[in-house]
Symmetry: C2
Amino acid sequence: MDKRIEVTDVILRDAHQSLMATRMALEDMLPACEDLDRAGYWSLECWGGATFDSCIRFLNEDPWERLRTFKRALPNTPTQMLLRGQNILGYRHYEDEVVDRFVDRAAKNGMDVFRVFDALNDPRNLERSIAAVKRTGKHAQGTICYTVSPVHTVAKFVELALTLKDMGCDSICIKDMAALIKPQPAYDIVKGIKETCGKDTVVHVHAHSTTGVTLVSLMKAIEAGADIVDTSISSMSLGPGHNPTESLVEMLEGTGFTTRLDLEPIYRVRDHFAEIRKRYAEFLTDYTGVETEIFKSQIPGGMLSNMESQLKQQGQGDRMKEVLEEVPRVRKAAGYPPLVTPSSQIVGTQAVLNVMMGRYKVMTGEFSDLMLGYYGSTDGPKDPEVVALAEEKSKKEVITGRPADLIPPEWDRLVAEASALEGYNGTEEDVLTYAMFPQVAPKFFANRHQGPLNLGKDPAFTRGLKADPMSPAFLSGPIEYKVTLDGKTKKVMVAPA
Amino acid sequence: MDKRIEVTDVILRDAHQSLMATRMALEDMLPACEDLDRAGYWSLECWGGATFDSCIRFLNEDPWERLRTFKRALPNTPTQMLLRGQNILGYRHYEDEVVDRFVDRAAKNGMDVFRVFDALNDPRNLERSIAAVKRTGKHAQGTICYTVSPVHTVAKFVELALTLKDMGCDSICIKDMAALIKPQPAYDIVKGIKETCGKDTVVHVHAHSTTGVTLVSLMKAIEAGADIVDTSISSMSLGPGHNPTESLVEMLEGTGFTTRLDLEPIYRVRDHFAEIRKRYAEFLTDYTGVETEIFKSQIPGGMLSNMESQLKQQGQGDRMKEVLEEVPRVRKAAGYPPLVTPSSQIVGTQAVLNVMMGRYKVMTGEFSDLMLGYYGSTDGPKDPEVVALAEEKSKKEVITGRPADLIPPEWDRLVAEASALEGYNGTEEDVLTYAMFPQVAPKFFANRHQGPLNLGKDPAFTRGLKADPMSPAFLSGPIEYKVTLDGKTKKVMVAPA
């Protein structure tokens, strides 16, 4: 009797976030939902910070309505979201009541599985949201952000898993957002969790495919006892995305493991998104091949392009090599945070400043907050000299407690501010939307009545856009045409103006 | 102490054959050779039937000169070629003397490793060329073409491996040209070979990446004892190509296996071909994602597009579904040949004819030859009714002996015919070129003095070609041009009417 391996498909959330800048409109996903719902998934990830942000920033779409619509369209399959712990879906810590209310509203609007993570792997940033999920009766999944550093041993990850389990998490996720997890560590961590937390501990592995090795890592994780894995259907897979669902299903044949997925509806979903994908060509990631240098640099692709553009803005585009060498030093000084939003941006920006202005001559507020504990604790020790500099420059003190404990009650203020906005619809959901994205929400509320935008374009048009009709390729030299006007034919030479 | 896993890179042969229609010019590969040569490969595959054909058909390049040039450019790494057994590099069986002379000349011109395969896995089609390689003192690698059918059990493949070993092969290759080999069969076959043929039997695994599962299969093959694997550097990998070399190197970390590859020069080669690849955009395969339906249909991508174009030529493009259902029946009737050149074309064409004209109403000469044993024996039994029909239609008889035994001596005739051609240079190599491709060689000999062609194009130009400048996308708004007419230059605005 084969062991059943369950699968979460990320095609409705992380796939288009990773491959097409989170721009996919709900209406382009709905036609696939009936087939997705019958394919036999453990869950379908369909909501998270970036999709929420994109809904109100680019798509004029109410993210809560998106959630309710998914729930109706997927009656037989649990919905799943990614929650940034105490950051909820935003970029700062929120006071506990906001966390509680957000989780409650998400559950009420149809969310079934909450994958809760913290960029620093600080359990104190997870405990409130996990407790909130437990109260709703929904599935609370505690998350380990996978990273590589001298302090991130197998034992360290297993210890975090045990903490999460003790908090009451229904399952443990190993989240490899940068495709860094190699087969052997994948095996060892899953094995360690099963041995330490009990073999009935449900282990779920999330991996991106950037480096090309992580389908092998999923295989080894499964051999070590992993119960659930994340994939994405092939037409929305690979590159900075995820491993293809179909390949996962097929690779298990004869191994003693099997999924309960039906490939018939999955192939229809594949064909649907293969067409939809073409409509978003202008947002598609440039490179869908394999990139392994991240194993050496530890720098995710998104962080790399951020730093490049920061350097270029300062006319110092030629100093990238110095910045690449500075990043590991800054990361070490900061106690080896995993490089994921927001720590990747914080570390990257400081590395750029160090190269341009001299080491720690200028320090961003975010970096000094990171050094002083305002994002939480890190797994590695921080450089005391840099901590002292951060205190001096920011006039703030080191904290060792849970960052959210410093935040005064804020719900009433958020309600008052949201209520004053044009187009506010009077719901707690709108207050939460405002709370998450206070800069973006006002415009969205005001324009919501105009209805959702679809940024997809006819592929023929998009192809034209990408090729740039004004590029020299099309007008590389004068071209001679025959032109007939009023019955007379003449030769004319045409060249770019 | 980790076990050393050796690697063959196929970037100079199978990679561009699989990804860009074999069009890459030697001059675009040479700048990478110094780095390839120092990276630490077991061998570099750089020659084969399709590259030989492409050299004389498209590139006006002498394939023997290509081989000699590679040998000079790769002084520290064995060169490797793919030899179609008794077919040598052509599409028919050759008389033994031609086989002997070809192998001898290839070895003299610089070939070190001969991977010898037969489309039907008939060892009698391999033995002469393997003996010829052994006489030159070079490395003879006997090949198992991997396929899936009711008769292709692990035991069957292991039995073939033993036969090849007994023939004196220096190593055994499992060749998975259609990316069909899943992790468990990969493990089982390698294990079986090691157990049956002896654990010192060198096993080399070649797999394409089309289905997305075969890097996992390489991992399991390595766990089972495989000694050498084929990969291709990332910028020339994936899709219908091969698994990325860098990913193979990285995935082994900590597993007890390790390569001796140095990634520094490999990254330089990657960057080189990332640029070169853009120059061949018009030949690039359309789809570089994952395709798993081949597990169900057993039909490789190239065969699929052949059949589609055959149907369309007959105005019956809507009957593809019937053809797809017919292919497995035809394959079964023919005794389950692996679907690889030329059997894939023979089976595919017959399936198309069966659908269009009625089952076996019309039979190609090639299909009746296949049914009657003129290509060799198949692993499965043939349908006796279809064999009888083939005899009746072709007026030929079933043969059970080695097909090449029926071929009268042909070397003197080949010399005489080649000698009569304009531009023949008097070498045995030219006779062999003519023998392989008698239709193409005459034009090549006549034009050879004009020197090699490079079909690569400036990427800006190619992008323009692909995007179709006449599409409405480029004329979506008014564009300003300078127009010169009768010596006077004016600026004009042009917009779609």
